[in-house]
Symmetry: C2
Subunit: 341 residues, 2 copies
Amino acid sequence: MSNSTPATIEDVARIAEVSIATVSRAIHTPEKVANSTRLKVNQAIAITGYTTNAMARSLRLGRSNMILVVAPDIGDPNFSNILVGLENEARSHGYGVLIGHTQNDPQRGLEYLKFLNSNQAAGLILFTGILPFGHQAMTARLPPSVGVFEPVFNGGIPYVGVDDIEGARKAIDLLIAEGHRKIAFVGDSRTRLAHRRRRMGYEAGMDAAGIGADLRIVLEGDGTIESGRLAVEQLFMRDTLPSAFMCVNDQTAIGVMIGLGARGYDVPRDFSVTGFDDVPQAVFTSPALTTIRQPRTLIGKHAMALLLELLSDGQPAETEILLRPDLVVRNSVSAPSRAWR
Amino acid sequence: MSNSTPATIEDVARIAEVSIATVSRAIHTPEKVANSTRLKVNQAIAITGYTTNAMARSLRLGRSNMILVVAPDIGDPNFSNILVGLENEARSHGYGVLIGHTQNDPQRGLEYLKFLNSNQAAGLILFTGILPFGHQAMTARLPPSVGVFEPVFNGGIPYVGVDDIEGARKAIDLLIAEGHRKIAFVGDSRTRLAHRRRRMGYEAGMDAAGIGADLRIVLEGDGTIESGRLAVEQLFMRDTLPSAFMCVNDQTAIGVMIGLGARGYDVPRDFSVTGFDDVPQAVFTSPALTTIRQPRTLIGKHAMALLLELLSDGQPAETEILLRPDLVVRNSVSAPSRAWR
DNA sequence: TTGTAAGCGTTATCAA
DNA sequence: TTGATAACGCTTACAA
């Protein structure tokens, strides 16, 4: 049973008294093997505890059973939830998940490119909106790939994300329903499509309510807590105060709440605030943040499923899968304060 | 350059006009190759963009360059930071990191055991305090392995963690220095060594201060937010109130603060609270949580370094590496309220 | 210093 | 339905 060296197909063949070819067939195309033979083989497998040597198999087949997942920052708590979805889906199809992170360092990207080149991964999941392999990427042969959150800039790669416009609409519609008219948008000017779309949702919502965006209260940050705080400062300096802040993500919203708190205001009594993403922290801010939830595990699951489809069909079934984001109502939104009514 | 099929060692050999053996040597033992030959080979490698096929190499060598990381829950935010340390260290030594999670399901564990059996990983990093492979684990041949956080129960496996006793001492000493005498400990009765050690640190600190633990205020929870809340309820029911709560981890501390808040008390004015771990949320609780920081990235780095050492030497350099946990002072601790003085 | 050739454990082709 | 065998790309005795 527990020998010093793992059983090979040859051990199984010897015990089952058949050839190794038959063993291989009994495993992969059992219908091509006589019942009695298959039985013998299965017994021999049970006896030896045989498992196919993945190295040999991959070498022979010319492809591995590993999927490389490259993210700019695997330390991001958002990432780990998606990873769960990715890993579950992969494993249930016989694939393993390899982790890589670039930290936006092109040198790192290059290492992963080499990695792919040496046939170590059959497919690629990309969290970055851009191929992280420098200009080499253009000439490189990439394996089937799928993006997460947004399309990959310089490659015609299908992706799985969330309907950012719809999500943003849910936030803005809530604010408007509560009676807000002057609603600031604190955006992210970096070039992520997701962020642009959230702003589009904001504008669409304002338009639909017949308000129209007031550009004086549409601010561009960079998605960090600090940029949320700064946005508040700017607005106070300019003296163009909204009654509510719709933020491009939770980090920004947290910054806005900190900025408001520092000036002695109460959320949601004095100002309402919404986020986007529903990061784990959103429960613990005070007040707890009303935000839009990204179905992270599900995103991971769909992304991996799409990739596996690509791997078997070769044809991308769809080029874009957008999941439905949900409004999570907590305590950072209320009707506008008296001053606004 | 970007042909349809990756270059093999044979392509390189042909262009360099040497044998494939020489190419292999030029790569792995360059000192055994004439300078001029090495030059030719390097040029040919540059021209072809050759990368060693990892499958073939692993098959030939009988071991892969992958490390399997098995955690009960990769969705845990604590995990992702450690992963950063693990991955960096692994990659800089030519190893890749494979992710697996068991969610405490023995069936899952078994799948990973098969995975290991099929030679897909050269080493194993375990986050669970117990071999997650069921009873099969006993008879199984495991590759070199390293535990994270605590020793692996049923295997003589070296591990990297934090000095929990010292960490707990830092928390209890702070509380005592602030003037607290009646300090509750909210523990975790599950069998994790780390949790037992934290309690030992608590007791040692109380003893050192000449107080001695009052068993009526030493509670056993299960490390969840809910169990922290429950602990508070228990204490109020029993009417044996402490002036401070030292909690076995941050989750518990958050629960305690929630419980206290629900009863209308203010932290730290009425009660002081400490946590352990310094999870990302600890910054966002109100008040921000004073806690003990685990150097997570460093733990990952050390764990992987130890494993790689094992992989090359075969001998565990040390059987236990304990890193120093740091006190992080935020706003959940102050001197006891008047009632206690 | 270099080349020849065996063999790692599979899968797939071909023949029986 | 089964078996013999070539090939996947590499490393490493062993020989030259």
